[in-house]
């Protein structure tokens, strides 16, 4: 592949991710609405929200780090998307691999944490403290699952992982090869996406929406954009590891939407856990299942 093609891919991948992510946000809100016996927002609501937020006339900032934080939050995900292969586009999959991806995905959290910290609002800091604790909770099963997948496939290159799975059709999917690890990943997924019952870090009734407390206008818009990427990344990563990735968009899209929809549907039926219960839960079941899965997979 020559450089210009690669550059085009690198430009396209975040854009595609953003558009798909918008759809996921819409789907999430629709699911919540249907469960609450409501109609829910119109089709283009996520993009209305984002444009409106960026179109605000006055916006307050608490300082340079507040701004840089948001830039890091969005930019980190933009970079992460180029490491995630999608049908027809491998991007930088062979340059970093899944470990790098897992760590690049922490950059937005760090950026947001810095930005929120600058706001000098304890509500935000508490939110970040909870978010980081939750990250500690869910990243352990998540990393375990990544380890298992990388070990079983014998590579950390996501493009290779997809190729290996697709050689054997559906029976070659990670889901079939290592069902326990896939289950552990699915258990950790709601926490990765930060949805109930694992969303104590934004708990409005306790800390008035935590990290978002001082975010206005384009700052808030940045977080909305980040949410699109977050859902997309979680969905695509899971699909890539366990559902055979996608050769064609037509099969790939249903898969990633389904992966995101399952935790969403469950999320609206639960209140939030306390922070320590999040850790307890995450360190118990997904880790246990994941370790069992590893034991089976590594034999």
């Amino acid at each position: 592949m020559n450089l210009s093609e690669l550059l085009i891919e690198l430009l396209l991948m975040p854009l595609v991710a953003f558009v798909i992510g918008l759809g996921m946000v819409l789907m999430m809100r629709k699911i919540a609405a249907r469960l609450g016996r409501r109609i829910g927002p119109p089709l283009l609501q996520p993009i209305y929200d984002i444009i409106k937020l960026y179109g605000k006339r006055t916006q307050i900032s608490h300082g340079l780090i507040h701004e840089i934080g948001i830039i890091m939050a969005v930019g980190g995900y933009v970079a992460a998307e180029t490491l995630l292969p999608v049908p027809g586009m491998n991007g930088l999959a062979d340059k970093g691999g899944v470990i790098t991806l897992a760590y690049v995905m922490m950059i937005p959290s760090l950026g947001m944490a810095l930005g929120v910290g600058q706001c000098a609002n304890p509500n935000g800091s508490i939110g970040i403290s909870r978010a980081l604790t939750a990250m500690l909770a869910y990243d352990i099963p998540f990393i375990l699952v990544i380890f298992g997948a990388a070990y079983v496939y014998g590579t950390t290159n996501l493009a290779d992982i997809i190729a290996i799975q697709q050689q054997q059709g559906v029976s070659g999917w990670g889901l079939m090869q290592m069902p326990l690890l896939a289950l552990a990943g699915m258990l950790a997924l709601p926490a990765v996406m930060g949805k109930q019952p694992f969303e104590i870090y934004i708990a409005p009734a306790e800390i008035a929406t935590g990290p978002m407390v001082e975010m206005s206008g384009k700052f808030m818009g940045g977080l909305f954009v980040m949410q699109c990427f977050q859902l997309y990344t979680a969905g695509v990563l899971y699909t890539t590891l366990f559902l055979g990735g996608g050769a064609y968009w037509i099969t790939f899209l249903p898969k990633i939407y389904a992966v995101v929809a399952i935790p969403m549907a469950a999320a609206m039926l639960f209140p939030r856990y306390r922070t320590e219960d999040v850790i307890r839960l995450m360190w118990k079941w997904p880790v246990l299942v994941g370790l069992m899965g590893l034991a089976v997979a590594m034999k």
Partner: protein, 243 residues
């Protein structure tokens, strides 16, 4: 208190506010933003009075305001709409003004319930402020005690069409006539009334100053207060001495 007649009712673009935009794309872009603003309204979760009891029904399963893109938001930073749901006691009015100033423009105020117009049934109460629009520019009033969810939603829709057509520009009046509003606030709360938000600096920053922004009341404010300047980053003490 200066009479309301002195204040333009609808917004008339001033020189500072109405920058001429020659680029036709910019016009399209402005229209797009206006459209999105009308279709995505975040309202502040602040139950200032008893009218707030009709908001949950309007938001939840039966009337579902999310259909219209209206969502509750928690902090003033994120919100576009400030709903004044009923009477405002003086203690609450201070918080409402604080909250309004913390909101980001374009922002809209909806006075729900009759009490916001003229004190309502608490007209003889020593503890409630009577005419809300003396203190804040109100975009839409929704009458009733309390208005039904349908009325709330129809009021919202009216605001939506006002935003779409660009008529809902009352937030600019607050910057442009800050002296007038501040005067009314000072009359009620005392002359040393001050909020943490520096409205004058903000008006200057965004080019919303008019000759009515500053006046005797703001002079009083500047005399009493040291405006809260942002903590800008600085590398050495020399810059400090410069400022």
């Amino acid at each position: 208190m200066s009479k309301l007649d002195n204040i333009p009712v609808r917004h008339q673009p001033t020189e500072a506010a109405g920058r001429k935009r020659t680029n036709p794309l910019a016009h399209v872009f402005d229209e797009l933003v206006k459209f999105c603003q009308s279709r995505s309204m975040f309202m502040l979760h602040y139950c200032t009075g008893c009218g707030a009891i009709e908001l949950p029904p309007a938001m939840t399963s039966r009337f579902d305001m999310e259909r219209l893109g209206i969502q509750p938001m928690v902090t003033p930073r994120q919100a576009d709409i400030l709903l004044i749901t009923g009477y405002v006691s003086i203690k609450t009015l201070k918080r409402i003004i604080l909250t309004y100033e913390q909101m980001q423009s374009p922002k809209y105020v909806i006075g729900i319930c009759s009490c916001t117009v003229n004190g309502g049934m608490y007209w003889q109460s020593y503890a409630t402020a009577k005419v809300l629009k003396d203190y804040l520019p109100v975009d839409v009033y929704i009458a009733g005690c309390m208005p039904r969810p349908e009325a709330v939603i129809s009021g919202m829709r009216e605001l939506m069409s006002d935003i779409k057509s660009g008529r809902a520009q009352n937030w600019k009046r607050y910057y442009e006539n800050y002296d007038h509003y501040l005067g009314n606030q000072q009359k009620l709360f005392g002359e040393d009334w001050q909020t943490p938000t520096d409205i004058i600096a903000e008006a200057r920053h965004y080019g919303l100053m008019t000759d009515r922004t500053l006046g005797e009341h703001t002079a009083l404010l500047e005399k009493h207060q040291r405006p809260l300047e942002a903590l800008e980053m600085r590398l050495s003490a020399r810059e400090k001495q410069k400022t």
